[in-house]
Symmetry: C2
Subunit: 230 residues, 2 copies
DNA sequence: TAGTGGTCTAGACCACGCC
DNA sequence: GCGTGGTCTAGACCACTAG
């Protein structure tokens, strides 16, 4: 019943990347090295690396080796330029409600599966320059993230915090998008008139530990659109 | 300089899927069969199939074989249930402007690369039941699609027509999403009041022949949201 | 039971990057 | 020249599906 050899090697390498043993931009051991170190053939070592490649943890270069990629995308949709624009204008993130225990908010476009355990929720407002562009509410089970309430986010990133401190990765996501009219709260938060069209994105992130995270993003897309590529 | 054996086998199988030799839901020859037919080892045949798998053309089932997938997604985003709901309510598509020669409409969120050649454009209104949910304008170069103007769409699908009649596949896409207010035309088309929030999705489809297709979708998301999964 | 895909071994030659 | 990943061969055993 034991899992495949290449799977356990893949998992170990992934741990080593999370733990920082192999930093971003660093070279992983070569296929030949991995093969002899673990007493397996090169084909099997290669299969482990190809799994990492498929999930975007490394890129390979013929003649050079396997290189750990820099930070991966946080979701499928990201505010256009929230990273690219960073050079010109400053991207800031104001924590309106830090992570706290709460009741599950179940008004999402899809069902919440985690009814059993305690819910942790936080709320942030993200701005480019001085203009707010995205209101984010994220909730998740506190079961797999003990202590996160008193933890500062790594580089201000929730997902990076999950990676570094809990070895939790995102394996997939499902999202629903809808156009809504700004209500009183949104009108105040974004400094726009009531009824202004806004984008609402509900995201269900699937983690590699089996449970899910739920985010609702409200975006002002008048100046910055939301983009995605495949 | 010749390309890899598994690549040419992969290309041939892809052609065979396009041509209908292997229909949707049909079984591809087994790895052993492909190996002996082409005088290669099973590993190489497998590599060709894995490439098809990675691109979503087939799924594999242990003990059964490799099955050609039904309907490949038309984009990254698709109206929720435009396919799933089909059982209950009828999905219809009204051609407002059939494919015709036109000037490039370059008001998209991204640049149009195909300035050189003639532009073909069509406009459709898609409905679920009797309610319109999506207005679509698509434009592309007529250079790689000679004769398409007088061609009925295969199964009413533009992408299927490209596949079957021109062997053109979609290798990727880039899209920008924005919330807009319904103007006079939209208000009339969708039977809603002016100013109603709607979703505007600009998509740049990259084809495997090198050129691009451009679509603008305007969606009424009051009852059917737009979704995507990864 | 026969056939399928999933995994693995033990080799081999090649094009490419770096020194 | 040497090590890297890319490709390929010729076998093997396994778990799963179907008749």
């Amino acid at each position: 019943m034991g899992e495949a050899v290449y799977i356990s090697l893949y998992k170990q390498l992934k741990q080593d990347i999370f733990s920082g043993k192999y930093a971003e931009g660093a070279l992983l051991p070569s296929e030949n090295a991995l093969a002899s170190q673990h007493s397996i053939t090169r084909a099997t070592a290669r299969q482990a690396l190809d799994t990492l490649l498929k999930e975007g943890y490394i890129i390979k270069h013929k003649g050079k080796g396997s290189i750990v990629t820099r930070r991966r995308s946080l979701g499928i949709l990201s505010i256009k330029g929230l990273t690219e624009v960073a050079g010109n204008k400053k991207v800031t993130s104001e924590m309106l409600q830090p992570p706290h225990y709460a009741e599950w908010y179940d008004n999402f476009s899809f069902a919440i599966d985690e009814g059993k355990s305690h819910c942790i929720r936080f709320k942030r407002l993200r701005s480019i320059g001085q203009y707010p562009v995205m209101l984010e509410v994220t909730q998740f089970s506190g079961e797999h993230t003990k202590g996160i309430i008193d933890m500062p986010f790594v580089n201000g990133s929730f997902f990076e915090t999950l990676n570094k401190n809990f070895h939790i990765g995102i394996s997939g996501a499902h999202q629903n998008v809808k156009a809504i009219a700004a209500d009183a709260e949104l009108s105040e938060r974004f400094g726009i008139s009531k009824g202004t069209p806004m984008l609402r994105i509900d995201i269900k992130f699937k983690t590699d530990k089996g449970f899910c995270l739920y985010s609702r993003l409200i975006c002002d897309t008048r100046y910055y659109e939301v983009e995605s590529t495949t």
